[in-house]
């Protein structure tokens, strides 16, 4: 089974967040990075499937040179090789642009299973995997908690709401977006890190993938980003004790929404 796992490099969640001068995103020079959380679970799911059924795990990441570190991390944990989509044309893409590039690269590579995380910890769009699947013309399932292989293809557990879930049968190749916390992440070992040096990381740019830069133009933009304003307001409720209690209950229920 040939599995491609998409890994996004995102700011560490204890990063110092400062808004950039244009007010459109956070200043990246202050940031340290890590693998997006749900993507890490995708990688683990892929490695476990490989251990059970054999095959190959390929770690794919799109972004500037620094994202190689997430590919190396994946190689250290046991992925067999890496693909790095790097091009200035890939800077500042929206989910559609990223999905387009991923679809082109994975189509060229070929696969049985394409895994992404459910959503990224920075933008939180939860669209990339689905867009890639649509562009590839393949079936997809979101918020996946478990993957099994069967004769027909895949048997996949989806998370629904309120603790309910659903098992879905689907053909392969397919695209799955993986939920966080579904398995126990393995550590890289020092030997794994040393072995990763010898594994291949293939670099692909827009031209090689036959992507026309215009097709990547963002369909969405950030106008302004700002920190939530904290403000304290004191309201005095007046009236009889009974009135006050009733109004207070109403406010707690409908404004503060604490019950």
């Amino acid at each position: 089974m040939k599995i491609i796992v998409c890994l996004k490099q995102v700011p560490k969640n204890d990063s110092v967040l400062r808004i950039n001068e244009q007010g459109t995103w956070i200043q990246d020079r202050d940031l340290t990075y890590e693998i997006n959380e749900s993507d890490a679970y995708g990688l683990e799911a892929a490695l476990q499937l490989k251990e059970k059924h054999g095959g190959e795990v390929i770690a794919l990441s799109l972004g500037p040179a620094r994202v190689q570190s997430v590919i190396k991390e994946a190689l250290a944990r046991g992925a067999d090789r890496g693909i790095h989509l790097e091009d200035t044309a890939f800077d500042n893409l929206d989910a559609y642009g990223i999905g387009t590039a991923i679809a082109a690269a994975t189509k060229a590579e070929g696969f049985d299973l394409l895994l992404t995380g459910l959503q990224s910890d920075d933008y939180g769009f939860a669209q990339t995997g689905v867009i890639a699947a649509e562009l590839l013309g393949l079936p997809h399932t979101t918020i996946v908690m478990d993957v099994e292989l069967n004769d027909a293809g895949l048997r996949v557990k989806r998370e629904l709401e309120n603790g309910f879930f659903q098992w879905v049968n689907m053909p392969a190749p397919a695209v799955l977006t993986i939920q966080s916390g579904i398995n126990t992440l393995r550590y890289a070992t020092l030997k794994g890190i040393m072995a990763a040096k010898k594994k291949e990381i293939k670099k692909l740019d827009a031209a090689t993938l036959g992507i026309d830069a215009a097709s990547l133009a963002p369909r969405m933009e950030f106008r302004r980003i700002y920190l939530p304003q904290k403000n304290k307001q004191t309201q005095f409720i007046e009236g009889s004790a009974g009135d006050i209690a009733a109004k207070l209950i109403d406010k707690l229920k409908n404004e503060a929404r604490v019950f």
Binding site: V16, K72, A76, A188, T189, L190, M194
Partner: protein, 585 residues
Amino acid sequence: MSETGKVSVVKGGMFLFEGRKSEDVFTREDISEEQQMFAGVAEEFMQKEVMTRSEQIYAKDWPVTRELLLKAGELDLLRIDIPEQFGGLGLDKVSSAFVGEQIALMPSFGASLGAHTTIGTLPIVYFGNDEQRAKYLPRLASGELIAAFCLTEPSAGSDALNAKTKATLTPDGKHYLLKGQKMWITNGGFADIFIVFAKVDGEKFTAFIVERDHGAVSGHEEKKLGLDGSSTTAVMLEDCKVPVENVLGEIGKGHVVAFNILNFGRLKLGSRNIGGAKISLNNSIAYSKERHQFGRAIANFGLIKRKLAEMAIRCFVGDAMVWRTLGMVDKALENVDSNDSMQVLKAIEQYAVECSIVKVWTSEALATVTDETVQVYGGYGYSKDYPAERAYRDARITRIYEGTNEIQRILIPTRLLKGAGKDQLQNLSESISDIIDRTRIYFGDEGVPTARRTLKSVKETARLALSSLVESHGDKLSEEQEAVALAADIIIEAYAIESAILRVEKLVSAKGADACRIPTEMLRVYVNDAADRVAISARNLAGAVKESAKLMQAFERLAPQTPINTIESRRLIADSLIESGRYLW
């Protein structure tokens, strides 16, 4: 490893007599991406596996500690220094010390792991024969076996060679019977392998590899001030029967084993010490931003800022010293055959002075930082519910073990006089006048260049101190410990100042002066204060040696400085810490 490829080999102890350029030294900034990844594994392991079990570890639930050590072994954290052919990774000291720094997140567990990998395992790595290495190293590498180092005895602490433990050959010539008692043994309660020092026939100080089953018996757990979660016990050897094959190194050469291994121990303790200091500093930053008094976060108060800045300066300078030394040792080890243990030892032995300096300086820096952290936390610093209290207690041991700081202060000048300094300090009386001629009062403050000039004076002072010691006390130096320690303090500052300068120069050439404003301020403040400390030590020394008039004259020339605004500098440093929320260098 070629990580340190850029750095050239320098002779140990030579820093007082030669100049260094920043491209000649290794700094923290030279740590490779791969080494960062190694450390990442260690950090994740500490956060997820160890910190989550702190309650059991502090309750001395040793099976949990053993299980965690085994897990550390699975991640290859115990095999870094072990040669590849014996199940190790054969990596450099920078890698193992950088991993060690992450382990400092919990000093108790750090002590267990560090005692195993460094003083427990390295004796076999460097002194074991191939049979011993093949027999023990693979299982020490995996964490299946845990090791301890048994040098200290009830009546032989600093005076370790005065050991009473005896080894007597059995009549059939097949075993040694060991009889005696070891004290304060880290991992004593649960180790399987003990590196024991005993005197063959009551005379020849010798190292042995002792298995628990040979008859080593643990005493009760010591009730300690700190490191609650590390096992420290006596180890009783009552007719403990050790096969002759388990003599480690040569009979009568146990001191070579003990002292060389402690050099590694001291150096690695350096990276753990500064690692610990950074954790305390980060706690102080976070707490001082949250805690409000008089309507403001206490981080806004000048006296709290002064503390934060001072802690950061210690972390910055300490790292400069630690990584410079590690890089130096690695470079020297790169050029010798790693299978030829005598060559390896010669390579490390020459840096004994630097290792002692690192041990003393970083353990005292950690003491300052953890003490000030308690102060930043105020009453909460005194409470067991906050992290400052434990850090303060855990730090205390680092000035005592791996050779007390007093002993190190004696060793530093003594070794320099026997080693590098022997050739360099000929014609002592002449050199004093030379030095007086060369020393000049300086004024002005342009950051790094001023620091460079101060360094020149401090090094002159250090050489002057050394030569005046010899001139005044000759071979009776051992009875003049106070004077020797004053010289040691000057030498230590010379190494600290130089290391900090080299690190800042390297940073500036990589990132540009603007990006290095804060490191440059840290350097200015450190050098400013260190110059005064040197002047005080020198003045006290001058008062106590012959030719004091000449010396006084020299020292006085070294002392005057243009005042700089250290208040402003410390505020700048503190403000950057407060803004970023943590120490970033």
